[in-house]
C-alpha cells in the first residue's frame, strides 16, 4: 500500500513517520512530476492552508490532485488539509478542492493561546487524544456526510466516502488510530 503525502509545507514529516510505522510505503508530493508515481491514498498535512493552496496552484498540482480525488482516490486531511477539502469556508473567500460538503471555520478557536488538547470519542475507534493547533472546526455538514467526532458540540471529524477530514493532529501526539482508520479506508475495509 503506497500513500502519497503532500509535502509543499507543514508537518508532512510527522505524517510520513506515522504511516511508515503502520507499514505503508510513503512518498512526498512536492511538484508535478511526483504525481506520475502511482499511489493508493493521499494525505494532506497540517500547516497553513493559504500557503499550501497557493503552492498547489502555482506548482501545477491542484487540478491533477483534484481529479484523482474525484476519481475516488482516498484522501485524509488534517487541520489545513481539512480546509483544503471543504466545500465552503465561513470566514474566508477561498475554496480549494471542494470535495467534502461541509462548512469549515478557519482559526475557529482563535490564536495560539486558544490551542488545546482534548480526549473525545471518535466513531468506530473510541476515545482518542486530540491536539488542536490554531484549529478550524466544521460548522455544518451536508446530510450525506458522516460526522465522526465532536468536541464541545462542534464537529471535528467528518467523512464522506473516501474523503476524511479532521481538524486535529494525530500525527503529532503519537496516537496512530486515525491513521490506521484511514489505511482501512484505503484498503476498502472501512
Amino acid at each position: 500500500m503506497t500513500i502519497a503525502v503532500l509535502a509543499v509545507q507543514g508537518d508532512f514529516a510527522e505524517h510520513e513517520a506515522m504511516l511508515e510505522s503502520l507499514g505503508a510505503q510513503v512518498f512526498e508530493i512536492r511538484e508535478r512530476a511526483d504525481l506520475d508515481r502511482p499511489f493508493d491514498g493521499l494525505v494532506l498535512p497540517g500547516g497553513e492552508s493559504t500557503v499550501q493552496g497557493k503552492l498547489l496552484r502555482e506548482l501545477g498540482l491542484f487540478e491533477p490532485i483534484r481529479e484523482k480525488i474525484l476519481a475516488g482516490t482516498p484522501v485524509f486531511g488534517t487541520c489545513a488539509g481539512l480546509i483544503l477539502l471543504a466545500k465552503r469556508l465561513s470566514n474566508d473567500d477561498n475554496v480549494y478542492f471542494d470535495v467534502l460538503p461541509v462548512t469549515v471555520r478557519r482559526n475557529a478557536y482563535g490564536r495560539q493561546l486558544g490551542s488545546f488538547y482534548a480526549e473525545e470519542e471518535f466513531k468506530g475507534i473510541g476515545k482518542i487524544p486530540m491536539t488542536f493547533i490554531r484549529a478550524p472546526y466544521i460548522e455544518s455538514a451536508d446530510e450525506d456526510v458522516d460526522v465522526l467526532a465532536r468536541v464541545d458540540g462542534n464537529i471535528v471529524a467528518a467523512r464522506r466516502g473516501n474523503v476524511l477530514g479532521i481538524s486535529f493532529h494525530p500525527e503529532v501526539d503519537g496516537d496512530t488510530s486515525v491513521h490506521k482508520y484511514f489505511l482501512d479506508i484505503v484498503q476498502g475495509i472501512k
Binding site: A7, R30, E48, G110, R111, S115
Partner: protein, 290 residues
C-alpha cells in the same frame, strides 16, 4: 491533560517547510501572506534599518502589532528584547502567536534570558551553536532559529551557525553513552537534552534558519544544510520587487533540491538588498545573549 509546551512545539511543527517574513505594516503583512508566508514577524523597523538607525531598539508598539494581527489570518510573531520579560508579558497580553526573544533588539539583560516556562505563548530564540540552542530550550523555547547576522543580506553567519549545530548534533549521536555526561558539562546544558539529541539526531524542537537570507538560492542553501524552514527579514522588503522575491523564496523552500526550478525562480527578481559584508559590520548582533 493540557501541556502548553507540547502545544507550542506543535505550532512550530505546522510552520515547517515555510517562510516567516518580517513586516512593518499591515500592507506588507498582506503582501507577505499573498506571497505564501506561513507566518509574519511584526516589527517597527526591519533589522537593516535598526542597524542603520543605531540607538536602543525595543519591542514594537502594540497598536502596530494589532494592526498586523487584524490584517492577516496566518500566525503573527513579534520580538521582545533578550531578558525583557515584561515586554514578553505585554506580547502575551495581546495574544501574539509566537514571541521571538531576539538579539536583533537591544538586550535588556546581559546575563539572564527570559524564563520562558512561565508563559503560555510560545517562544523562538536564536542560537549560534548547539549549546546555545539547548540552553534556550531548557529555558522553555519551543522553536530555535540560527542567529545569522540580521539586516546584512550576508548569509555567511547563518551558514556557519547551522553547520555548527548540525555537526555538533552528529558528534553527539556518534558518542558512547558514558561520554554524554562530559558532553553535557562542556556544552553547559542539562544531561537529559544531550541524551535526547544523542538518541534522536536532532533538536527536540523545530529549527529554522534566520539572518542574512536574501535570495531563493540562500533559502535553499539553508534548507539543504538542515533547516526546517526559513525566516527572511530585511531581504524581502529591502529588495526591488518584494512580492515577487517573497513568492520565489517560498517556492525555493518547498523544492529546495530542484536546481532547475530555483534557477527559474531566480530570474528577473529585480535588485536584491544591497547587503553589508561580515567584515564591514560594526555591531555583531549574534554575540548578544549566549
Amino acid at each position: 491533560m493540557e501541556n502548553r509546551y507540547e502545544l507550542n512545539k506543535n505550532l512550530a511543527q505546522m510552520l515547517k517547510g515555510g517562510v516567516i517574513m518580517d513586516v512593518t505594516t499591515p500592507e506588507q503583512a498582506r503582501i507577505a501572506q499573498e506571497a505564501g508566508a506561513c507566518a509574519v514577524m511584526a516589527l517597527e523597523r526591519i533589522p537593516a534599518d535598526i542597524r542603520a538607525a543605531g540607538g536602543v531598539s525595543r519591542m514594537s508598539d502594540p497598536a502596530m502589532i494589532k494592526g498586523i494581527q487584524e490584517a492577516v489570518s496566518i500566525p503573527v510573531m513579534a520580538k521582545c528584547r533578550i531578558g525583557h520579560f515584561v515586554e514578553a508579558q505585554l506580547l502575551e497580553a495581546i495574544e501574539i502567536d509566537y514571541i521571538d526573544e531576539s538579539e536583533v533588539l537591544s538586550p535588556a539583560d546581559d546575563k539572564y534570558h527570559i524564563d520562558k516556562t512561565k508563559f503560555k505563548v510560545p517562544f523562538v530564540c536564536g542560537a549560534k551553536d548547539l549549546g546555545e540552542a539547548l540552553r534556550r530550550i531548557n529555558e522553555g523555547a519551543s522553536m530555535i532559529r540560527t542567529k545569522g547576522e540580521p539586516g546584512t543580506g550576508d548569509v555567511v553567519q547563518a551558514v556557519r551557525h547551522m553547520r555548527m549545530m548540525q555537526s555538533e548534533i552528529r558528534r553527539l549521536v556518534s558518542m558512547r553513552e558514558d561520554e554524554l555526561f562530559d558532553a553535557a558539562k562542556l556544552l553547559q546544558v542539562p544531561y537529559d537534552l544531550v541524551k535526547y539529541v544523542h538518541e534522536n539526531g536532532k533538536l527536540p524542537v523545530v529549527n529554522f534558519a534566520a539572518g542574512g537570507v536574501a535570495t531563493p538560492a540562500d533559502a535553499a542553501l539553508m534548507m539543504q544544510l538542515g533547516a526546517e524552514g526559513v525566516f527572511v527579514g530585511s531581504g524581502i522588503f529591502k529588495s526591488g520587487n518584494p512580492a515577487k522575491r517573497a513568492a520565489a523564496i517560498v517556492k525555493a523552500v518547498t523544492n529546495y533540491t530542484d536546481a532547475k526550478l530555483i534557477a527559474q525562480l531566480s530570474e528577473n527578481l529585480g535588485e536584491a538588498m544591497v547587503g553589508i559584508n561580515e567584515q564591514e559590520i560594526e555591531l555583531l548582533m549574534a554575540e548578544r545573549g549566549k
